[in-house]
């Protein structure tokens, strides 16, 4: 999987490479043609001039000899890098001059062109401007230009002299070298262009990827709950449009989440307010029920007892409702103190007359920094549940703990009852959840375990239901010292 950056860079590089290759190819081709044409023209002109100057206007009425042709040949090859042949029809009528290019043959096609088409009387042609032919050949990797032309000598004594043929071979090595040099610099230029293109591609990728990355970070922030997260949406391009869409979606999300939270908050506030309002009459009721219970006689005593009992229940329930609404609202405060934890456990059990009913296994001398009231609340809830719903023996075990998150304390409350059914295990910490659906009315508020867990979490710890073969075991883990939360 290649990233956006890789794809952009690859595309840029490919385009740059292709463009510079095409441009360089065309340029090379044009330059090569121009160069060759110039060389050809120069050579042809040179040959024409040389012939005009060196071919004598009148010939001695003799047969052709190399002596006669030698000056022409020399003149044709006077520039370096050239070789010339001048051939006559008579035996001995030939001459060669200049550099000797070994292994070279005058191409037959050129010779045929110079000699003219078809069977005809070569001597019947009148003297006129030279027909000059040329052909490029290559030998052992060296390019050559071969120029050939028939030369018509003037007539002497009423007859035409036999025509001669002049050939010049020009080495194109210098031009080849020039072209090679040019090709190399064009290639270097293309390489530089590709490098520049790559840099541009990286820049372009960055300008595309930066907003993409910002969007990604913003989306992540939004997902993590930072609903106020927005991105900078300047410009008119597609990415800016995407950013604007993101912003408007985030706004809509924030609005609906805010609304939901507001609804939840007001629902919780309602619970808190109702509980609070209920407490004032409860204060009055609590103040007088003792008297009622103590002084009522006969059948009124039963009624008074019932009222007193229900008042106590109501007090527990409202206390729990207020407790959980404060925990929910984040308004619950830890009142930490350094306490002797095993002593606290013993006292907590003794206060509720549970000392005889519960077996304890407490590590001695364990000082911990906890909120004693909240610790007591957790312990009382766990032991109360074990005694109420489980079977004896109920044990409380207190240990130091070093795992999983540093030093802490571990408190286990176990009973020997039938345990909690598998499908019910994940519900035990839920509010108002009861193991037995038929039992619509229990002695508890239905909030005890939820409050216990919230209190554990308030300490930075946790309360879990352990997986055991028999009975029910809850485990409380608290960091010690506690993690101070801001």
């Amino acid at each position: 999987m290649i990233g956006l950056r890789g794809r952009l860079v690859a595309a840029f590089a490919a385009v740059a490479l292709l463009a510079s290759a095409v441009t360089a190819g065309i340029a090379y081709w044009l330059v090569r043609r121009a160069l060759l044409e110039r060389v050809q023209n120069a050579v042809v002109n040179d040959v024409r001039n040389v012939l005009a100057q060196t071919v004598p206007t009148r010939l001695p009425d003799t047969t052709l000899t190399s002596d006669l042709l030698q000056p022409i040949s020399r003149a044709l090859a006077r520039q370096p890098g050239r070789q010339s042949w001048v051939l006559g029809d008579e035996p001995g009528g030939w001459a060669t001059s200049g550099a000797h290019f070994t292994g070279l043959r005058i191409p037959p096609k050129l010779i045929a062109a110079v000699r003219g088409p078809g069977p005809h009387n070569r001597f019947a042609r009148p003297l006129r401007g030279q027909q000059i032919y040329f052909q490029r050949i290559s030998s052992r990797g060296v390019p050559y230009l071969v120029v050939g032309t028939p030369v018509y000598l003037p007539a002497t004594g009423g007859r035409f002299a036999s025509p001669i043929e002049a050939y010049v071979i020009v080495s194109l090595q210098r031009e080849r070298d020039d072209l090679d040099r040019m090709a190399r610099s064009v290639a270097a230029g293309s390489g530089a262009a590709v490098v520049v293109a790559l840099l541009l591609a990286l820049l372009a990728a960055r300008s595309v990827l930066r907003p993409v990355r910002r969007l990604a970070a913003a989306a992540q922030g939004l997902g993590a709950g930072d609903l106020q997260r927005r991105v900078d949406a300047r410009g008119r391009d597609e990415l800016a449009r995407l950013a604007r869409i993101f912003n408007s979606s985030a706004e809509a999300l924030e609005a609906s989440v805010t609304e939901l939270r507001e609804m939840e908050r007001s629902a919780r506030r309602f619970v808190a307010d109702v509980s609070h309002e209920l407490r004032t009459p409860l204060t009055a009721m609590t103040a007088v029920t003792d008297a009622l219970e103590e002084e009522a006689t006969g059948s009124a005593a039963t009624a008074a007892g019932l009222v007193a009992e229900e008042t106590r229940r109501l007090r527990t329930l409202i206390g729990h409702l207020l407790e959980i609404s404060r925990l929910d609202a984040g308004a619950a405060a830890l009142v930490l103190d350094d306490v002797d934890l095993p002593e606290l456990v013993v006292q907590s059990l003794r206060l509720r007359d549970w000392s005889e009913e519960v077996e304890t296994d407490l590590v001695p001398d364990l000082r911990a920094r906890v909120d004693p009231r909240r610790f007591d609340m957790i312990l009382a809830n766990l032991v109360g549940n074990a005694l109420k719903h489980g079977e004896r023996p109920v044990t409380v075990r207190l240990r130091r703990s070093y795992v999983p998150d540093g030093p802490g304390i571990r408190l286990r409350v176990s009973d020997s009852g039938p345990g909690i059914p598998e499908e019910a295990r994940r519900h035990v910490f839920e509010r108002f959840w009861k193991a037995d659906a038929a039992r619509t009315r229990s002695e508890g508020s239905g909030l005890g375990l939820a409050i216990a867990r919230a209190n554990a979490e308030l300490h930075g710890g946790e309360l879990t239901l352990l997986d055991t073969d028999t009975g029910t075991t809850f485990e409380l883990w608290l960091p010690n010292p506690p993690v101070e939360r801001v």
Binding site: R279, M285, R369
Partner: protein, 224 residues
């Protein structure tokens, strides 16, 4: 058996508490606002004041503060929540104890009797520590020859600490001995009272030379 001023704005709670306290043998005067309560304190001084924190007009904490400005009359706050910020503010204002509503009459009675016991004088109970003289007989503390006004609770705390010089007392121990609370007493009572005592007897309360804090344990009185 004490004369009590109850300041509570809710009529039924006021009536209920007045009934319960009277039934327990106390002589109760009930008032519905802080202003009326303060007026009552001036005209007919009770032995102890039970103050609701949430009152219309000036609230319970402010009433407590105004009472403390003039004398060391014992004050118990009636609060809605134990972890309310009001509790801390009220304790800083000089309240001797607090109870959470709805309170059982037995609990309230035990608390106010405990507070009143602190006011009892014990002739001859007098100790000197450096330039500090603590006299339970006269309920007075003298520091470098100057009288220092302390409440009964502050005096008891000072006595408790100075009785065990050099020994660390935990907050739980102090709550049991001074406040007569069970083990679940609120340690903030101790902290707030220690702060108040320090501000009265120490030269630099932030660098105390009499009452030291022992981190992780409690407090220690330093014998000079």
């Amino acid at each position: 058996m004490a004369t009590i001023l109850l300041v509570e704005d809710d009529p039924s709670a006021r009536a209920g508490l007045e009934f319960a306290l009277t039934r327990l043998g106390h002589s109760v005067t009930a008032r519905e606002t802080g202003e009326l309560g303060l007026e009552q304190v001036r005209t007919q001084r009770p032995e102890i004041v039970i103050l609701d924190v949430m009152l219309p007009g000036i609230d319970g904490v402010e009433v407590c503060r105004r009472i403390r400005a003039e004398d060391s009359l014992p004050v118990i706050l009636l609060t809605a929540r134990s972890d309310d910020i009001d509790v801390v503010v009220g304790l800083e204002a000089g309240a001797d104890d607090y109870v959470v509503k709805p309170v059982e009459p037995r609990v309230l009675d035990a608390r106010l009797r405990a507070v009143l016991r602190r006011v009892e004088r014990a002739p001859g109970d007098r100790s000197t520590h450096g330039d500090l003289v603590i006299d339970r007989g006269t309920m007075k503390v003298r520091r470098a020859g100057q009288d220092v006004h302390v409440t009964a609770t502050e005096l008891r705390l000072l006595l408790e600490l100075s009785r065990h010089p050099g020994q660390v007392l935990t907050r739980q121990q102090l709550l049991a001995s001074v406040w007569e609370h069970d083990f679940l007493g609120d340690s903030r009572l101790v902290d707030a009272t220690v702060q108040r005592v320090r501000s009265k007897i120490e030269d630099v309360p932030s660098r105390p030379k009499y009452i030291e804090t022992v981190r992780g344990f409690g407090y220690r009185f330093v014998a000079s």
